[in-house]
Amino acid sequence: MSNPRPAKKKVLEKELLDYKRVGFEAYGVKICFETNDQGVFREIKRSLPGLFPGNFKDAGFCLCESVYRVRKNPRNLFELIVDGKLDSVSPETLTLNRFLLTLIRLRVAERAVGRVFLHAGAVAWKGKGIIIPAGSFRGKTTLVGALVKKGALYFSDEFAVLDKNGRLHPFPKDLSIRSGGNQRETPVRDLGGRAGKRAVPVGFVLLTEYKKGGSGNLRQITPGAGLLEVLSHTIPIRYNPEFTLEVLNKTLNRAIIAKSFRGEAEVFSERLLNFFEKHLI
């Protein structure tokens, strides 16, 4: 009886000849993408540079850390395959493409060389960084937007990027503003704000989430307790724990760490900046 596997492999190899490919590098991580669908290729290729503002370069399709593939199968379903393993199947490409771009961004965030990515909003005020770690749908973008409108420099509404010395670097993607179930990518200039261009030391780490009627009182916590809480939002903690903890320690040791349940962003951002100035500047 013949072994079907080599035959299947040959079919796949033949199929792959028709794929379109692109490779890039961001933060020292090399990622490759391939697909047999022209529309998906165009969309992903167009979107990739915007995923990593200021840190994207084209690279060849070899020595990739991860390979992402979208295969349009004979039943017209789109299969997302990550490093040779089927991740998901979708009948449409709109959400599949978005999902793929999220996966790619997170992979780079996890494996970035010499950087630690926190899932956090980030701004700078008078030369010091303010980091707001929080999960999705917890109001990071709203609060960052309110701070930017008050004159803070925009660093990111998604990632706080820290270097080995614990300094905060800009990751100025467009703000993802949600409204009525939709998400709109909004350049910071549309809010009347400016993006930061240089790294700054971190002065303040704020652990907060929106709560209707929240008092907005800020309660300081110890660096150790703060570090423990920040770990929940630290992308590479499992991938590279030693370097990650060293960087977080350097960052948090020099910063004020506070917790709060906040009410409306407009009011809270004013209170936050006053607190920041009183304690740090």
Binding site: F99, L227, I235, R238
Partner: protein, 161 residues
């Protein structure tokens, strides 16, 4: 465990960061992080296999400047053992008293902070930790998240109603 025994802090498979007076310990085997407050950290640092519980209480007393009862050291060892931060995990005895009773007694007898070890398991999935993204009709990535919905992927590709 008796007062004459000499507890040993675990060293292997841990990443340790001194964070001001506290210590952050990351367990590479379980991906759990533990924050030891000043008192717990001091007890843990002195579990060197040569010091007895009585010796440790004297060291802590000298450094923290308050009267330290041996029960306080037991309380710290109890938590450290429970979190797998000691080489040997043993049943500790508070002489028939509950942990709560011991804490109350220590609290009245000393100005030194009660030893505390707070813990957290780091998120398994980067995607779950940092995104609510999914592909429409496939809510599987939502299951392990804290997104607005853990069972629905909406038409915008978000784990939300």
């Amino acid at each position: 465990m008796k007062s004459s025994e000499t507890p040993v802090a675990r060293k292997n498979g841990l990443v340790v960061q001194e964070v001001a007076d506290e210590v952050l310990v990351y367990d590479l085997d379980t991906n759990k992080a533990h924050c030891l407050n000043e008192t717990a950290a001091m007890v843990w640092r002195n579990c060197d296999g040569t010091r007895t519980v009585s010796d440790i209480s004297k060291v802590v007393e000298g450094k923290l400047g308050g009267k330290v009862n041996e029960d306080l050291i037991w309380l710290a060892l109890d938590q450290l053992g429970e979190k797998d931060l000691l080489e040997e995990k043993r049943e500790l005895s508070f002489s028939g008293r509950s942990r709560r009773e011991v804490i109350r007694k220590i609290g009245l007898a000393t100005a030194v902070a009660i030893p505390l070890v707070a813990s957290l398991t780091t998120p398994t999935s980067v995607l779950a930790a940092a995104s609510c993204a999914c592909t429409a009709g496939n809510p599987a990535p939502c299951a392990a998240t804290t997104c607005p919905s853990t069972t629905n992927c909406n038409l915008a590709g978000q784990c939300a109603p």
